[in-house]
C-alpha cells in the first residue's frame, strides 16, 4: 500500500531540480549559477496567471511573461533575452502569448540569493517553425524610437533614460554629486 501512496505523491508533487540540459545548445555567459536548459512551456502573462488581470495580448511585450513548463507545471521567470545589452525577454516572448513553445537558454538557480527558476532565453521554437534567436529587443526599440536614431548603443540614446539622468545624474544623487565623482575619478 505504501508503494502506491509513494508513487501517487511523487506524481502529484512538483518535480524539483530536474535536468533540462538535454539537447540544449545554449551558449555560456560564464555566470556562477547558470545551467543550460531546453524545455517546452506555455507563455503566460504572470500578472494574469496570479491575479486574473488578463489582457488578450499578454500586455504586448510591456508585461513580464512567464514560461509554464510542460514537464512539471513550474512557472519559470525569463528575465533576459540573448543580447548583452540590458534587455529583457518579454518582447521576445510576447508574440507567443498563451502558446506552447520550446525555448533554449540558461537557468539560474542560486539559493543564497533566492534565485529560483530564473531564465535567460536564447532561442525560441514555435511548432514546426525553425528556431529563432531571442535577440530582437534592440530592433524593436529602434522602431519605436526613430527620433533617437544615431551611433552608439540604445541605452546611451534612450530618451526616457536620458531624461532621468539629466535630472538626477548618473549616480541618482543630483548633478553636484556627479561633478564631485567626476573630479575624483577622471
Amino acid at each position: 500500500m505504501m508503494r502506491y501512496l509513494l508513487a501517487i505523491l511523487l506524481c502529484a508533487g512538483p518535480v524539483s531540480a530536474q535536468d533540462f540540459s538535454e539537447g540544449s545548445e545554449a551558449k555560456t555567459w560564464n555566470l556562477y549559477a547558470e545551467a543550460p536548459a531546453r524545455f517546452e512551456a506555455t507563455v503566460v502573462d504572470i500578472l494574469c496567471e496570479l491575479t486574473g488581470d488578463c489582457p488578450q495580448d499578454c500586455g504586448d511585450g510591456m508585461r513580464q511573461l512567464g514560461l509554464v513548463r510542460t514537464a512539471d507545471n513550474v512557472m519559470v521567470l525569463p528575465m533576459k533575452n540573448s543580447q548583452p545589452a540590458f534587455t529583457g525577454a518579454a518582447a521576445e516572448l510576447a508574440p507567443f502569448c498563451n502558446q506552447v513553445i520550446e525555448v533554449d537558454g540558461l537557468l539560474i538557480e542560486d539559493e543564497d540569493l533566492g534565485a529560483s527558476n530564473i531564465y535567460l532565453v536564447q532561442r525560441i521554437k514555435a511548432g514546426d517553425a525553425d528556431w529563432i534567436k531571442a535577440n530582437t529587443w534592440t530592433k524593436k526599440w529602434a522602431e519605436r524610437h526613430p527620433e533617437a536614431a544615431g551611433k552608439g548603443p540604445w541605452f546611451r540614446r534612450d530618451p526616457r533614460v536620458n531624461e532621468v539622468i539629466g535630472r538626477e545624474g548618473y549616480l541618482g544623487l543630483g548633478p553636484e554629486a556627479d561633478e564631485t565623482y567626476a573630479e575624483e575619478n577622471f
Binding site: W29, E34, L50, M62, G88, I108, R160, Y170, L171
Partner: protein, 152 residues
C-alpha cells in the same frame, strides 16, 4: 473504496488545495530598494552589494527601460518581483518603475508566491525615500562605463 485509495484521494485533495492557495495573494507592507533583478540574481556585474544603490543607478535605469523585471529588495534580503505599481501594469519597461530605479520605497500591496519566487502587486507606494544607499563610495560605478568620462 479501499483504505489506501481513500488516503490517496485525501492527500491529493490536500495538494490541490495547497496549489490553489499559492495563487491567493497576501496583503503586505514592505520597505526596500527598487533593484534590477537580473544583475542581482545573475552576478553578471559583481556581488549583490555592488549592484544596488548609487553605484548601480544608471545600470538600473538601463535594465528597467530594457524590460528586465524590477524587484523590491527588502531589508531582510527578500526580493519581490514587481508586477504592477498602482495603475501601471507595464512591468517590462514601464514609466512608473523607471522613475523609481534604485529608490528606497515603502510599498503596500499584494504578495503572490509561485515556484520559489515572490511577486508583488503594489497598490500604493506609501513613501519614496529616493536613493539612500551611496554604494559608489565603495564600488565606484557598476559597470564602470555607466558613468562616462566627461568630455575635456
Amino acid at each position: 473504496m479501499q483504505n489506501w485509495l481513500k488516503i490517496s484521494v485525501i492527500l491529493l485533495t490536500g495538494l490541490s488545495a495547497q496549489s490553489a492557495a499559492a495563487a491567493e495573494g497576501t496583503r503586505i507592507k514592505v520597505t526596500g530598494e527598487i533593484i534590477d533583478t537580473w544583475c542581482y540574481y545573475s552576478g553578471v556585474m559583481g556581488g549583490p552589494d555592488a549592484v544596488v544603490g548609487s553605484a548601480h543607478h544608471t545600470c538600473a535605469l538601463w535594465c528597467s527601460a530594457g524590460g528586465i523585471p524590477v524587484g523590491l529588495l527588502a531589508e531582510d534580503g527578500t526580493v519581490y518581483t514587481v508586477l504592477k505599481i498602482a495603475k501601471d501594469a507595464q512591468s517590462a519597461g514601464g514609466d512608473t518603475q523607471l522613475s523609481l530605479a534604485a529608490h528606497t520605497v515603502t510599498a503596500d500591496g499584494m504578495l503572490y508566491e509561485r515556484d520559489g519566487l515572490k511577486y508583488l502587486v503594489v497598490s500604493e507606494v506609501v513613501s519614496d525615500m529616493d536613493i539612500v544607499n551611496p554604494t559608489h563610495e565603495d564600488y565606484g560605478t557598476v559597470p564602470p562605463f555607466s558613468f562616462p568620462e566627461p568630455a575635456q
